[in-house]
């Protein structure tokens, strides 16, 4: 944002004692995200917020609650459930939706389920395509959503860095990276032809550290898996995989061991690597982040197929 003056903490009049200490940097990000959320609500016929239960989704939901306060967000939450999420994630999801009184839609690709697609036997690429990408497309078509709000950030990955805030999708849900609409100032071209849709990314300009800072400052509830605790894990292909239920086939040499681990990103447990850590509180996580020498996507198995794998998946409709 050009020319938006920084509202210095000390010069904020009217801030009552005990109100949270808020930095100008986070305030600016917050103001921009709220602006994007309100534009989405105003410009689309039937928007939906994709809720993946992770830290970014938690921030997104928090921002949506603020954007429409004292009302509720004028759109439902959609969770694409692969049936392989960590159990703690599902508990957290249902509890948050109940606490906030929000409409939660859970969609699973039943075709994939009846075919018995699982991440162990079918490999991460096929599994991700069927249970995540196809499932998301099914859910969007089923409900006729014309805008899907997601928590992706530009700092996550190289092809994400080129994504627009309002990112156009064809009627077949395809992203055409070479033919994106130019996006200038805070003006968003939201026009759609029948069947087309928009993906909207209010957190585009946030970094991973911003997310954690904001969670800390705003005291936003997150899934406890982000905090370190003793958990049963096996080491497989260089990653620490948590044995979250009995469906995980163990190899002959594998014996789950209790180790103090936490997760930097959350997804399907068989595809999400843990990191060894003793950071059991939010401030400890932020300190650990500051000193970190690896990126958060390192724990994700699905980006490793090839350097362009994310771009290809996104073109096919993956979030």
């Amino acid at each position: 944002m050009l020319d938006v003056p920084t509202v210095a903490e000390s010069s904020l009049p009217g801030r009552a004692e005990g109100e949270p200490l808020r930095t100008s940097h986070l305030q600016r990000l917050e103001a921009e995200s709220i602006h994007i959320l309100r534009e989405t609500a105003a410009e689309f016929r039937k928007p939906v917020m994709l809720y993946s239960i992770g830290k970014d989704s938690s921030v997104l939901l928090h921002l949506a609650m603020k954007a429409f306060h004292p009302g509720k967000p004028p759109f439902p939450l959609l969770h694409v459930d692969t049936t392989w999420k960590f159990r703690e994630m599902i508990e957290f999801r249902d509890r948050r939706a109940r606490e906030l009184g929000l409409d939660l839609i859970v969609h699973t690709n039943n075709d994939g389920l009846s075919q018995g697609i699982d991440p162990f036997r079918h490999g991460s690429a096929r599994y991700t395509d069927v249970m995540k990408t196809q499932a998301l497309r099914q859910a969007l078509d089923l409900h006729g959503f014309d805008a899907a709000i997601g928590g992706a950030r530009r700092d996550e990955e190289k092809s994400r860095a080129k994504e627009r805030i309002f990112s156009h999708r064809s009627a077949a849900h395809r992203w055409d990276p070479k033919n994106q609409r130019p996006e200038l100032w805070s003006l968003y071209n939201t026009l759609l032809a029948p069947g087309e849709s928009m993906r909207v990314f209010p957190l585009s300009n946030w970094t991973e550290l911003d997310i954690w800072d904001y969670i800390l400052v705003e005291n936003i509830p997150i899934v406890p898996l982000y905090l370190s605790a003793p958990r049963p894990v096996v080491e497989r292909d260089g990653a620490l995989i948590m044995v979250d239920d009995e469906r995980m086939p163990l190899r002959p040499d594998e014996e789950p061991r209790m180790r103090s681990v936490r997760f930097r990103t959350l997804g399907c447990y068989p595809l999400t690597g843990a990191t060894t850590s003793d950071a059991a509180t939010l401030p400890e996580i932020v300190r650990e982040m500051m000193a970190s020498r690896t990126s958060e996507r390192q724990g994700r198995m699905i980006d490793r197929d090839s350097p362009a794998s994310m771009e290809r998946k996104k073109a096919e409709g993956y979030f």
């Binding site: 602006h35 105003a42 190289k158 080129k162 300009n205 970094t207 800072d213 401030p283």
Partner: protein, 631 residues
């Protein structure tokens, strides 16, 4: 009042929050192909220690396989994200990168250098405080440099770092650097770019990027990083009058009506008087809700929700203002950077978005185009992709704005093609062509509501849309007769009949179809003003045009009726023999055959005459009018 519970301050990690007060500088990089932009940005990321170990490992392995540097670290690979780019070794879209130093955070928009991608550069520049312009030391200031600098100046960039790259390839020649600097300063002076810092660099080796180069002792100025950390780009929109473009009206229950938006300029406090533009209604601010809770004051850049002391009409696209009045006009002059492959043609209609307002707009005249290399004004009939022009625009309704010089948020707009939906142009408002006082509508002593009361009906437009032969005119005619029987006052506007009269001059090109719809909408609106029920029956194939017709009226006055008879059925009936002719190729651009029909997404009424007789359709429409108290 705020949604979240305040966390205890003691729980926070105090040293971290101190560091967080670092301001953010947004800058854009531009230059020609192979000048080394991506390499420079990659080098900034690398030297700022922003990269993680796994990213460095990936860089090392990709440099060996995909790099263009013979196995050395190829920093451009950090930035060139899309597969096609890596294959071609070029950047084809804007990439946003984040890094931070001890003093500042940075968001970099890395933009491509080819001529055909000028729009991406304008995109990156639209949100930037500063630009880093790269030139190849061997080539100096070239046409692309002029072009990019011109766009930068149009987009209001006043601070430029000229990075003269590849100094190693000219033997670190200080005289050559001085000559390039002099040439660029002349250019910048012509363009009104007031602050220029020229720095000699070797991007792949890092000379003068973070650390001062030992190979160019004659250069004593700052390094790129040192300059970016210290340059003062602060504008002062907080000192300007208060402007809040209304984004969203928040009505969760009957006791709360809040107006949401991000404050474009100035500040506001509870109890202060605000004027709603363009209506001119005045009231006071009752409450200010911010993301951090309720406050008694808020300033530019904040996303807020205001409640007002009086129940007055405010909707999305209106602007809450205080202090001096903003510009309000339906005619303005602006610079356009044309993006679309389809050339701009004077007289064509586009959808204009400015702030939170949308309105139909016609380019009334193209005053001149600007030759990018020489900055000379040239007369022109059209603007092609990547051309810049100065135009006069006529808008369908008054817009609230400022000049781009004064306010980037309130002075910028985009034009969207109503058919392809492509973003056709970016615009920077130069001046208002009519004073607001001249265009306040003539309000007669007898107003619409009085006329409506006399007629004992709520005036509205019944807009019948659908394919040729769907049954629009037949049903509209029945409804007209039925209303007459009921003693109501209606007027029938039939698309075909109007083409014999007021629309006689129009053909069937997209532009002429849009003009046809616009005229019918205007006539229908006049009938509504006269307290009548207007029945408009015309194919009106484009959704955006029907939306403009809807916007021409007040809420509840536009009733869209989709006569949704399937194409096959229309073609089977073919009452005028038009489908036969179209299939024979005698009627080009016939809707449903070789021109798309964009069905309404949420029409008030849908009628399929293959399932419903015309009489039953008529009764359904009369029923709707009764149910919604039009009759």
């Amino acid at each position: 009042m705020s949604y979240h519970e305040a966390p205890s301050i003691a729980a926070l990690d105090a040293p971290r929050l101190d560091q967080d007060d670092r301001p953010t500088l947004r800058f854009v990089t531009c230059g020609s192909v192979d000048d080394g932009k991506s390499t420079l940005v990659g080098r900034l990321l690398y030297d700022s220690k922003t990269l993680f170990d796994d990213q460095l490992d990936a860089l090392a392995s990709e440099s060996k396989t995909a790099g263009t540097t013979g196995g050395d670290l190829d920093f451009a690979l950090l930035v060139d994200g899309l597969q096609a780019e890596r294959e071609q070794g070029i950047t084809i879209d804007v990439a946003y990168r984040f890094f931070a130093t001890k003093l500042r955070r940075f968001i970099v928009a890395d933009t491509p250098g080819h001529a055909q991608y000028t729009r991406n550069m304008a995109t990156g520049a639209s949100n930037a405080d500063l630009a880093v312009v790269l030139v190849d030391a061997r080539k100096g200031v070239i046409t692309q440099t002029r072009r990019h600098s011109h766009i930068l100046s149009l987009l209001g960039i006043r601070h430029v770092v000229l990075a003269v790259n590849k100094m190693d390839l000219i033997g670190f020649d200080g005289d050559r650097f001085a000559a390039i600097t002099a040439e660029y300063l002349t250019l910048a002076g012509q363009l009104g770019i007031s602050q220029v810092q020229c720095i000699p660099v070797v991007a792949p080796d890092g000379d003068n990027i973070v650390a001062a180069s030992t190979r160019m002792p004659w250069y004593t100025g700052p390094t790129v990083t040192a300059y970016l950390e210290s340059v003062d780009v602060a504008g002062d929109v907080s000192q300007r009058p208060f402007r809040l473009p209304v984004q969203w009206v928040n009505r969760p229950h009957a006791d709360f009506r809040g107006f949401c938006g991000r404050i474009a300029s100035g500040a506001i406090a509870t109890g202060e008087t605000v004027t709603v533009q363009p209506s001119g209604l005045r009231t006071r601010v009752a409450r200010i809700l911010t993301p951090g809770g309720e406050r008694d004051r808020a300033a530019a850049g904040e996303s807020v929700t205001l409640t007002l002391a009086d129940e007055i009409d405010v909707s999305r696209g209106d602007v809450l203002t205080a202090g001096s009045a903003p510009l309000v006009s339906d005619q303005l002059a602006a610079h356009l950077v044309w993006f679309d492959d389809e050339a701009m043609v004077a007289g064509r209609r586009y959808l204009l978005k400015c702030g939170t307002a949308s309105t139909g707009a016609v380019v009334a005249t193209l005053k001149h185009s600007i030759a990018i290399d020489t900055m000379a004004q040239e007369s022109a009939a059209t603007l092609d992709v990547n051309q810049i022009g100065y135009v006069h625009l006529n808008l369908d309704r008054p817009l609230v704005f400022e000049t781009y010089r004064d306010d980037r948020d309130m002075g910028s707009f985009i034009l969207v093609d109503p058919i392809s939906h492509r973003t056709a142009a970016a615009g920077m408002i130069d001046l208002s062509l009519r004073r607001a006082t001249n265009i306040h509508w003539q309000r007669g002593a007898v107003d619409k509501s009085m006329r409506a009361r006399l007629k004992q009906q709520r005036p509205c437009v019944l807009w019948f849309t659908g394919l040729s032969g769907a049954g629009k005119s037949t049903i509209a005619d029945l409804v007209d007769r039925r209303l007459a029987e009921l003693g109501r006052h209606a007027a029938l506007l039939d698309g075909d009949n109007l083409r014999h009269g007021i629309n006689r001059d129009l053909g069937f090109s997209n532009a002429e179809r849009m003009e046809n719809v616009r005229r019918v909408a205007e006539i229908a609106a006049l009938f509504v003003d006269a307290g009548m029920i207007a029945l408009a029956a015309l194919i009106s194939p484009f959704r955006s045009e029907r939306e403009l017709a809807r916007q021409r009226l007040e809420a509840g006055e536009f009733i869209e009726i989709h006569v949704a008879t399937p194409l096959a059925e229309c073609e089977r009936r073919d009452p005028k023999g038009l489908y036969r002719k179209a299939r024979a190729g005698e009627l080009p651009a016939f809707t449903g055959i070789d021109q798309p029909y964009e069905a309404p997404q949420a029409p008030e009424i849908t009628i399929d005459t293959s399932e419903l007789s015309s009489e039953a359709a008529c009764e359904r429409i009369i029923g709707y009018l009764r149910e919604h108290h039009y009759l």
